[in-house]
């Protein structure tokens, strides 16, 4: 499998996965939540809708270390992206993610004070595509592989 095929496979997995596991840290212990993909720029940046006062929002404000985990159990592919998450209320970002279907949660629309976004930035990760597994860093938009080996 060539370098670009691996990157393409990762992007395809991201593209077809709507429910993503978000790993965070609270007081030195790991936590997991499910988030729904809203906007992503390649493997580099992901944004998710959240509530300003939800526990995971508060956790991320205190400690931004995070990971995203994508799993396709039928194709034996998993992708973990490591990076940093932050909470933003940037009006341009909130507006870009807004859809009228969200009004059930946010009565005041895109300006609702309870409407926030999680912004995740990838630094590297781990990709498993049977029977191979590898670790990589993301430098700019380029995937730089540290290893890629056959997995038992």
């Amino acid at each position: 499998m060539q370098q670009d095929e691996r990157a393409e496979s990762m992007l395809a997995l991201v593209g077809r996965t709507n429910l993503i596991y978000l790993g965070t840290v609270f007081e030195g212990a790991p936590r997991i939540k499910v988030v729904t993909k809203n906007i992503h720029e390649g493997l580099r940046t992901f944004r998710f809708v959240t509530l300003t006062h939800r526990q995971r929002t508060l956790d991320i404000r205190r400690d931004g270390r995070a990971c995203l985990y994508f799993a396709d159990n039928e194709r034996f592919e998993t992708l973990r992206l490591d990076g940093v998450a932050a909470i933003t209320r940037d009006p341009a970002i909130l507006q870009a993610m807004w859809s009228e279907g969200m009004r059930g949660f946010f009565k005041e629309g895109a300006d609702d004070p309870e409407y926030s976004a999680i912004e995740f930035r990838t630094s590297g990760g781990n990709f498993y595509k049977w029977p191979y597994i590898g670790n990589f860093e993301l430098v700019g938009d380029e995937v730089v592989w540290k290893d890629w080996v056959k997995h038992a």
Binding site: L19, G28, K33, Y69, D82, A152
Partner: protein, 138 residues
């Protein structure tokens, strides 16, 4: 509260896999899906794993862990927080052994790369829709 715990137990019991959260050497969170081998209520969960895996090394260094169960059909989620450890207790290794596992552990149930991850929950958080409930696991 009893109904919440029953719903949480039902979700964990019908889940084939669980996502295990652990900490890397730098304290960053890591998530991996594992096939559930056995469970005792919401208290204890067992997973077959590899002694040489990064997961086992992380747990040997820092046992703080969480398990996550999610059903996309009902939009229920359960997070259990607690501790996990790696064991090579022969009774567990032999007890969990099944035909076909020699594909992963060629030397059989005593293969040095075959181990079991035991997770013990201390507290839980169950949600359905927009409602979140925290509870202690006793």
């Amino acid at each position: 509260m009893r109904e919440i715990i029953e719903a949480a137990l039902n979700l964990a019991s019908r889940s084939f896999t669980a996502e295990l959260g652990t900490l890397s050497e730098t304290g960053s969170p890591q998530v991996k899906a594992l096939i559930k081998t056995k469970q005792d209520g919401l208290n204890t969960f067992w997973f077959c794993s590899n002694t040489s895996s990064r997961r086992a090394a992380m747990l040997a260094r820092d046992g703080r862990a969480c398990l996550y169960f999610f059903d996309p059909k009902t939009f229920e989620g359960l997070m259990l927080e607690g501790r996990a450890e790696v064991t090579r207790d022969p009774a567990l290794l032999h007890g969990f052994w099944q035909d076909g596992m020699e594909r992963y552990y060629p030397a059989g149930p005593d293969d040095p790369d075959y181990c079991v991850i035991v997770f013990r929950a201390e507290k839980g958080n169950y949600y359905r829709g927009m409602k979140n409930t925290d509870f202690a696991v006793e």
